[in-house]
């Protein structure tokens, strides 16, 4: 009998294909997202190492890279400027979409939503599987584009037309031909994947919560994934529209984004379009995307910080309110990416006001984390270390947003390294820390084994110090005006002295810090693989945590709970409740069993 016939029989043997490839089980799909995301992180990070070599050591002879990069290393041993731009572009695309959207949201929404709300699986297992395989197909196309002779897309991850709309720019931007076509197709597939996932997450959270799990008892992780999915549902279709119109402009002669263009010695027939239209559409997704990346990380951190401080998260309702506030505001601040695009200055003023409002809920979140740590009893698991690191990075990167969100100051800072430093700290590194924290914390739930703590500590400290060493110095050169996406600064007297390759300079420092930080991730990779195969066996609730996922069996079975789905009786943050026998009371424990610690109104 085939496995399909026994779909509801929990004891059947599944074939390799249904268990590991076309799995409908949310836990396996989560692992698929995770592993794929980590592989992409290796590529995305590796590309950044390549362009950091160029930026730190522009005069170095790179012919030793020829076995890897082939013709992208010129005959004089220098990196081809087109390859530099392609690397920058692909680094951004891969990190933002494949690693921090699919790798983070895809992994933890899939793993935790059913487990923490007490559901047997996602609302639609099939859509969930399709979500992964669309992501996989998207990844295949993106990967192919890396190996094209003309190179992958090289117009920046934002892909502004006309640069992204002109298919034949020759040597000026060879990646904008086939590379850009593959990029657009891959992005379209990616959006489909993301939407399939989001619909599922929203439907599951709304409909499949176990008895007693009201919205005001949801763990903050679930709130975060839920709101993230809604943001994605509302914003990704707009990017899809933008990409579609761009495909039309590229291939079918329309003029949505094109007008008055003279290139390659001829005037094109396009008139009436507006490149600014694309920017509006792109950033209508692009800005919420920042929060699609960040909010899940903040949700994960909330859970981990509360658990390991042995304290309830401070201001649970304020945390929810700030997530909702950030989500709402994220849709009306996109214009701050376009202060100098030539859009109406009045719009600039409006977007400046709205942008700085978003700092308020963000500040509330940071303060709430701090108060949660205050008078706690902190256990430094690797997950906790990364969570504390996240809060620090989130604050350090977030504060500079106050300068960038101010349109008058943005005139000087726009598209400089100040911006690069800002968003890498606040959304790049912070979200990455959230993802890594989540992996350390829920590894026992995914693989039934524990990751090694000591390797985790070393990994954390190298990464935490490394990330600061990479991105803090970028503020300095950003203030000096260094534009981003520059292959070299030697043409400009304004900047060339600061990065004179003859002497040790700040750019070299950043590059070396980046090499060390990237290498340190090998510790994590080793720990991950080794622990998944040979790590210490996990106990059922290794962190003494309150949420439902720790009531499931360690080995992770189909349907999650062997018997009845547990009922929920309280919020998830009853840690160190005065009078309680232990310093945690799981959500499944009814108030009637804990008369000694019940507060007023809890009975």
């Amino acid at each position: 009998m085939s496995a399909v016939a026994h779909e509801h029989d929990h004891h059947h043997e599944e074939s390799f294909v249904t268990k590991y490839l076309f799995s409908l089980d949310h836990k396996m799909i989560a692992k698929q997202f995770l592993i794929t995301g980590l592989i992409w992180a290796f590529f995305g990070g590796g590309l950044s190492i390549l362009f950091r070599i160029q930026l730190g050591f522009p005069n170095a002879d790179l012919s030793w890279l020829e076995p890897l990069l082939g013709n992208w290393i010129q005959e004089d041993g220098k990196m081809d400027p087109n390859f530099y731009l392609a690397a920058v572009t692909m680094h951004g695309t891969i990190m933002v979409f494949f690693v921090l959207t699919a790798g983070l949201s895809g992994t933890f929404s899939n793993l935790l939503i059913p487990l923490q709300i007490g559901a047997r699986d996602m609302a639609s297992g099939l859509m969930n599987m399709l979500s992964y395989w669309f992501f996989f197909a998207s990844g295949v196309l993106m990967m192919i584009s890396l190996f094209l002779e003309t190179g992958p897309a090289s117009g920046g991850w934002v892909a502004y037309p006309p640069l992204s709309a002109l298919t034949d720019l020759g040597e000026a931007a060879p990646g904008q031909g086939a590379g850009m076509t593959l990029w657009l197709t891959a992005m379209a597939l990616f959006i489909v994947s993301s939407l399939l996932g989001s619909v599922n997450y929203v439907a599951t959270v709304i409909n499949m919560r176990t008895k007693g799990l009201t919205f005001d008892r949801l763990p903050l992780t679930i709130w975060a994934f839920f709101v993230t999915a809604i943001i994605g549902l509302l914003s990704f279709p707009v990017l899809f529209a933008a990409a579609l119109l761009l495909i039309f402009d590229r291939n079918f002669g329309t003029s949505f984004y094109l007008s008055d263009i003279y290139v390659n010695g001829e005037a094109l027939s396009h008139v009436g379009g507006s490149p600014i239209l694309y920017q509006h559409l792109f950033w209508f997704l692009g800005h919420p995307e920042v929060y699609i990346v960040l909010i899940p990380a903040l949700g994960i951190t909330s859970e981990i910080i509360a658990t390991n401080s042995r304290k309830p998260i401070f201001g649970y309702k304020a945390m929810i309110a700030s997530i909702l506030g950030i989500a709402f505001l994220s849709f009306i601040v996109w214009g701050h990416h376009m202060f100098s695009s030539g859009m109406n200055p009045f719009l600039g003023s409006v977007f400046m006001f709205l942008t700085l409002i978003i700092a308020i809920p963000s500040a509330v979140k940071a303060f709430n984390y701090i108060t949660t740590l205050w008078k706690g009893n902190i256990i430094f698991t690797p997950a906790m270390l990364f969570s504390i690191g996240l809060v620090s990075l989130f604050v350090s990167g977030g504060v500079t947003g106050i300068a960038l969100g101010n349109s008058a100051l943005d005139i000087q800072l726009h598209d400089t390294y100040f911006v690069v430093a800002h968003f890498h700290l606040v959304m790049g590194a912070a979200s990455f820390f959230g993802m890594v924290a989540g992996i350390y914390h829920w590894f026992p739930k995914m693989f039934g084994r524990m990751m090694d703590d000591r390797l985790g500590y070393v990994h954390f400290w190298l990464t935490f110090i490394g990330v600061y060493m990479v991105f803090m110095p970028m503020h300095y050169i950003g203030i000096q005006g260094f534009p981003r996406r520059y292959y070299s600064y030697s043409a400009y007297d304004t900047w060339s002295d600061y990065v004179n390759p003859e002497t040790f300079n700040i750019s070299m420092f950043i590059s070396i810090a980046a090499f060390i930080t990237f290498s340190a991730q090998a510790i994590f990779v080793f720990n991950f693989i080794y622990s998944a195969l040979k790590g210490k066996r996990a106990t059922q609730n290794p962190w003494n945590s309150n949420t439902l996922e720790w009531t499931t069996p360690v080995e992770g079975i189909h349907g999650n709970w062997p018997g009845e789905i547990p009922e929920v009786h309280r919020w998830p943050y009853d840690y160190s409740k005065p009078g309680a026998k232990e310093d945690f009371i799981p959500q499944t424990v009814p108030f009637s069993e804990t008369p000694e610690s019940n507060l007023e109104g809890e009975a």
Binding site: L85, A172, D260, P275, A318, G342, A359, T416, F464, R485
Partner: protein
Amino acid sequence: MNILVIVGVLVLVILVLIFRVQSLVAILRGSDKRVDGLSNRINGGMFLIFLFGGLGLFFWYTFSKSHVYNLPEAASIHGKETDMLFAITMAVIVAVFVIVNFLILFFAYKYQYKKDREVKFYPDNHLLETVWTIIPAIVLAALVFGGWRSWTEITADAKESDKPVVFEIVGQQFLWASRYPGMDGELGKHDFRSIDSKNSFGIDLNDEKGYDDFMPLNIHVPVGKEVLMRIRAKDVIHSVFIPHLRVKMDAVPGMPTQFRFTPTKTTDEMRSLLNDPEFTYEIACTEICGRGHFGMKHTLVVDTPEEYAKWYAEQSKDASFASLNEKYLVEKVPAEKKDALNAVLAKIKGEEVVAEPVVETPVVDSLTTDSTIVEVASDSTVSDSSPELAH
């Protein structure tokens, strides 16, 4: 190479063995199960070291290099203003950065696990939440207000009475070029379909105002006068960035943009101020535009009003589109504009100007008409109508 690989593998194997041994030892000792063990204390201590080490490094570097990594010397009126705003904003930012990071990292150290520590069950406090919602709101409101005032001033339309110096800058892969209004004081219309090897700016030949425009090699502006820079792009988006003037604005194909500024220091003044005899105002591109993005440089010269007037007079007389491309224009100009072209040519050649003051430039009120010997400054040499743009 092979030896390196072997050594690398050996090192890895040794590391893995060490890891294996220490984790077995930890299990034997039972220290892997204790949460208040040495590791927890080390991690707590590391947070304290990181906090003070990091802040120490930050302040030491910032102060010891403050002369190096500051905003470039501002040489425009709005630049001075936004620099002030930037300083205030940065002060707020650094204060918040230090205080909040101190709290996070210090609390991590202070409240590390102790077996008998009383944990404070503290789920909520409305007063605190309100306080730290309102305080950031007030601070931000103040900062936004400052920014909003400067921004409105910077982006406001130029008043007609101000008669700003007007010039046009055009971006294309991978260079900038500029165009000035000629003797008539007005830029002619342009049309991208008119672009060819002689007419690289696409000056619309149906508009006689463009015939006397000139396209110098370097951009010149007078100090202390308001300048209105009109910005265009021919192929893809570029962005004009003049760091010392605090100017940045995208150049968008099909959508003309502009930026208004008043330079306050001449190139010579900057040279002596920065003690750098080589100093020039540089213009960079800050919107990714392809392979040559990083080399898309242009230069700008800020003159005294007298120097500028002289330069302008020479350029509009000797380097106008019409005078350099007379044959081309005669051939291309539509029939009904022939008279207009002849008038422009006559004016440029000085056949008509005798009775009038030399030039009615749109820019300089006190143009001297005395016959000081015109010395051609090296950077205003004109060899052709414009840099060769079309390739």
